[in-house]
């Protein structure tokens, strides 16, 4: 456990001005964060739509809205809610309210990577939710060559009231990649890709491995559009896989 926390401390999550296509945030559109917070005094709204497909049941739809505020240099807080609709069950769920805190510890200096961490708390406001969902994420961002960057996120997830047959703790990792598209003639879009491994919540199930590819594009000085697709490549011990996930988002800062 101690090792996990040290790992989390080394690699937690993300960014610079939220509405900057260079600043990568989890969910917009893939799963990783870069090691930079939004700017001090910046406020940002992020909106996202997701479509998830499954092998054994019908698709579900999500609609996430998040507000962020850079309350201090290199630190921001966020509040998010993601109502979902499950087609097999034909009903919606308000979802948990998530409160997040991000701390950018250092920028990349020479070859030493940028480091940050984030803590997210999910309040049990969703249907049948119990206890708190906690996530500790450690983030490192490092340049690879001149313009390419890699981002390592290590997650420790915890639920204070796990359901029957569920783990109290799970771990995960995401290796992200970002590169500007169009340099040196255009400066408004970033290609992102990731590879993630996540431990299933259910006891007896193993890990799910997935890949994602996406694009973030600046559409105005204050706004970024993003789109990404993710696919679960493998799973161990019967863990459920999502063959296809589509995420589309729009972020605006003010």
């Amino acid at each position: 456990m101690k090792g996990l926390f040290i790992g989390a401390g080394l690699v937690l999550s993300s960014l610079v001005p939220a509405s900057d296509h260079n600043n990568i945030e989890a969910g917009r559109p893939l799963r990783f964060d870069d090691a930079y917070s939004i700017a001090f005094r910046e406020r940002a709204f992020e909106f996202g739509l997701t479509l998830d497909t499954f092998r054994r049941r019908g698709p579900s739809y999500g609609n996430k809205t998040e507000f962020k505020y850079g309350f201090a240099k290199n630190q921001d807080i966020s509040v998010a809610i993601e109502p979902t609709y499950s087609s097999p069950e034909r009903r919606g769920d308000l979802g948990n309210v998530e409160i997040g805190y991000f701390n950018g510890l250092r920028r990349q200096i020479d070859d030493a990577p940028a480091l940050a961490y984030r803590v997210d708390v999910g309040l049990p406001t969703g249907r049948d939710a119990k206890g708190l969902d906690l996530r500790f994420r450690g983030i490192a961002t490092k340049a690879l060559g001149q313009y390419d960057k890699v981002h390592l996120n290590l997650d420790l997830n915890m639920n204070t009231s796990p359901g029957p047959g569920e783990h109290r703790h799970t771990v995960g990792a995401v290796l992200g990649y970002s590169t500007p598209l169009g340099y040196p003639r255009r400066f408004d879009q970033t290609l992102v890709a990731d590879f993630a491994v996540q431990q299933s919540k259910k006891q007896g199930e193993g890990y799910v491995g997935s890949v994602g590819l996406g694009l973030r594009r600046q559409v105005s000085p204050q706004a970024v559009f993003d789109i990404g697709v993710t696919s679960d490549l493998f799973s161990a011990k019967g863990a459920e896989r999502r063959p296809f996930r589509l995420a589309i988002g729009y972020s605006v800062s003010f």
């Binding site: 900057d20 939004i38 250092r106 200096i109 500007p180 040196p184 255009r186």
Partner: protein
Amino acid sequence: MKAIIFFGLTAMTAIGLAQDHSGHQMAGMKKQTELPAMPTDIPGWLNAPGADHLFYKAARYNWAINRIPKFAKDMYATGVGHAMAYEALVRGEASTLETKTFDKINWVLKHPPAMPVDEGAISPTFLRKYGYLEKVFDWAHTLHFQTIDVFAHPGWTDEQKEKEIERLWEFYEAQPYAITGLPMNMDYLDSFPYSMKFRTDYPKVNGLFWGYHWLQTVNYDMLYRVPVKDQASQYEVLGARYHETELYKTDRDFMPMMAEMSPRFAKRFPQIANAFDNLHMLHDNVNDILAQPQLTEAQKQEQVKIAIYRVLATTHKGETPGDSEGKENTLHDHRHPPSMPGMGWMKGSEDDIMWMSGMGWMDMSACSHCSIPMPEGNPWGATVSAEGWTMMVRCLMCARDMAGETPGRAIIRAATNDPNRLLVLISDEEGNWTSNIEGIVFLEKFGEHPECSGWSRAFTTLAALEKYVADNPEYKDTKPLTLAEWAALNHATPDTYRKIDKPNPYKPGPPPSNGGGR
């Protein structure tokens, strides 16, 4: 022994650098022979690891610059040049600066982006090494853009805008990365062993840099107290000049200064004008340091930090503009031309007389056309922008005749009877003028130049002119002039004009054949 060898090497490097450009020593300060030493009170944030990104002041005017699309795009493109050049320098690609890198920058300047660019993303290697410098640049560039946004915002009066500009300055100054608004001795800031290296070795790229410093400085008088609807039309003239000429000039004596390019703004907001000049000087210092192959990586890092320290507001806390007692030609020399508080001390300056690149020696307290001292208070007269320069003149006649002596298009910005209505006149290549005020009428009763600001004026209405004539019966027989009638007049160079004959302080050799004047 190790220390002695290190000292010896450092001293030899410094002397070598100092001799590098000895041919440039003219009037003013001599180039220093020793590299500046690290001050003991260097601010802690320079060594702090945080990214420390700052957001601009939240306001409804943000991004109003986009109301002038061509100008906005050209301004956005300026973020690319230094970033690409710095990236090339820190990656050991200096040999490409005048060729491949120049072409890359020039392409972007010719095809400017529709949105602002993240300079740090264009120069990631530079950012990893000099992230502390980026904090200073970013914060000053934010002030640049927000002040422009305020002026381009259509919803406020001039008074509201001026108050907001003052609040923006306070907002800017509150951060430790703020550059001082005090006038600095530019000759001193350009006197280090590495100084002038970049402009000497890379004149084409330096030309681009100083070209867009021209754009960043010339725009303020285009916007200041000018109705929003009349701003874009001026940029048709200035933008063409920028792309056709200013970007590619390699014969400037010195970087464009705020008070040279936007004298009305510099007079009204001297702190901001000085901060931008100091920012641009910091850019030049950094260019020179990075371009100096004799400096080690560690020396470059140290010299960049020292260069930042020199211009920070915290370094000059408690000091006042104009103060130089016993500190002439030092870091704490805050002299300025008496009539222009928004201008630092330049090479060879004497009181209000300074060398302006492209114009020669000019007296900033006097009309550029008739050499008679500018009137105190309102009306403030006019400015003329032509051939890349902007000059203050006493009256509309001086403005028209000065523009008439100059080839190419010109812009006149002039006071009218209404302090809230600025007259903007724009000429075509043939000297045909258009006005932003329909029905503008002129009074011109040619007489003695010392009184020209009384007998050469513009009025927004005929009634306003008649009221002025009623209050000043000496003009009762003077016929009101339409724009066409007024534009057809020309009284040539007045006999009061006095050319200042002195050599160019930046270049060796005898004075130019025109005596150094215009």
